[in-house]
């Protein structure tokens, strides 16, 4: 038996072990996929408005300032729970108007305060964006974030 043999066996074990862990990862992903669809997200609630809102969110690359569910840039507030922060679960209309007004009034141009740009978003898109935030806030995230400050 040559030296090379142990090394090629080592390579095979490396590949085999990798495939083993990859299979487990895929199996768990499949399970999680089902869990997300059935338990943690409101699939029926993904209306065309929510879908459009997600597209608006992406078109303006909001994630490169804000976080959503804790992922993104850390320059601006978490928006996964912005609906709750505006009291949307108690008074939906006020929250909706509050978020829309906020976006419309940007930038604040207050000196020394982080600025949000002015985005060309029409009324219908604004509503869609709020629909998206509202929907995201219903995702069961193992009770994250710890408080309404996000």
């Amino acid at each position: 038996m040559s030296e090379g043999l142990t090394k090629s066996a080592a390579r095979n074990i490396f590949f085999g072990g990798t495939i083993f862990f990859l299979v487990i990862l895929v199996a768990l992903t499949v399970h999680s996929y089902g869990y997300i669809e059935k338990n943690s997200t409101d699939v029926a609630g993904i209306t065309p408005g929510v879908e459009q809102g997600k597209a608006v969110w992406e078109r303006h690359s909001c994630i490169n300032c804000h976080t959503i569910l804790g992922e993104g840039a850390y320059y601006a507030p978490e928006l996964g729970n912005v609906w709750a922060r505006y009291g949307g679960f108690e008074d939906a209309d006020t929250a909706r108007d509050g978020i829309k007004d906020w976006i419309r009034s940007q930038p604040t141009e207050v000196e020394g305060r982080r600025q949000m740009p002015h985005f060309e978003i029409n009324e219908q898109e604004l509503d869609a964006l709020v629909d998206f935030f509202k929907w995201v806030n219903t995702i069961k995230t193992q009770n994250w974030p710890p408080n309404v400050a996000g």
Partner: protein
Amino acid sequence: MSDLNEHNSGWGPLSSLPGNPIMWVLIWSELLVFGAALSGFAVARMLDVQTFDASQAHLDRFFGALNTMVLLTSGLCAALAVRVRSDGNSSASRWWMVYAILIGSVFLYVKIIEYGDKLDAGFDIETNTFFTLYYLITGFHFFHVIMGLIILAIVAWKNSLENLETGAAFWHMVDLIWVLVYPVIYLVR
């Protein structure tokens, strides 16, 4: 055997372990994972002992013990396969591996019955922390048994002594983990 000693050199400290060194990297990774998981289990139990003890009562403790014996016996067959191969008896070694695989499969059969019973009774991985850990730890071990059987089949086919030692080492690790998992999850209360 002297050539075996030689070609296994250069792996640093891993050289002195029987079988392929990378298999031992895998074995150590697994031991650390299960060690951490069982420690986590113990701490989670400490924090919520009522739920844990009430949930544990739903497990079938006898099936767990039965499976311990199944694995120990299968492990014996694997060890004997290596033993007779080193005496130069290749075909007997194959047969011992086949026995090891057959007996090892019983473990899967028993475990599937157990999982079926638990799921029928409405206990799934999200029921509570006890069942999350029960399914994670035993499920992860279950995957190892499947993997182990595949490895045993491969080394029964390509049955050089080196391969047999490597494959059997993985199988004994699976065995070893179950010996630790069974009392901690099924019995301690």
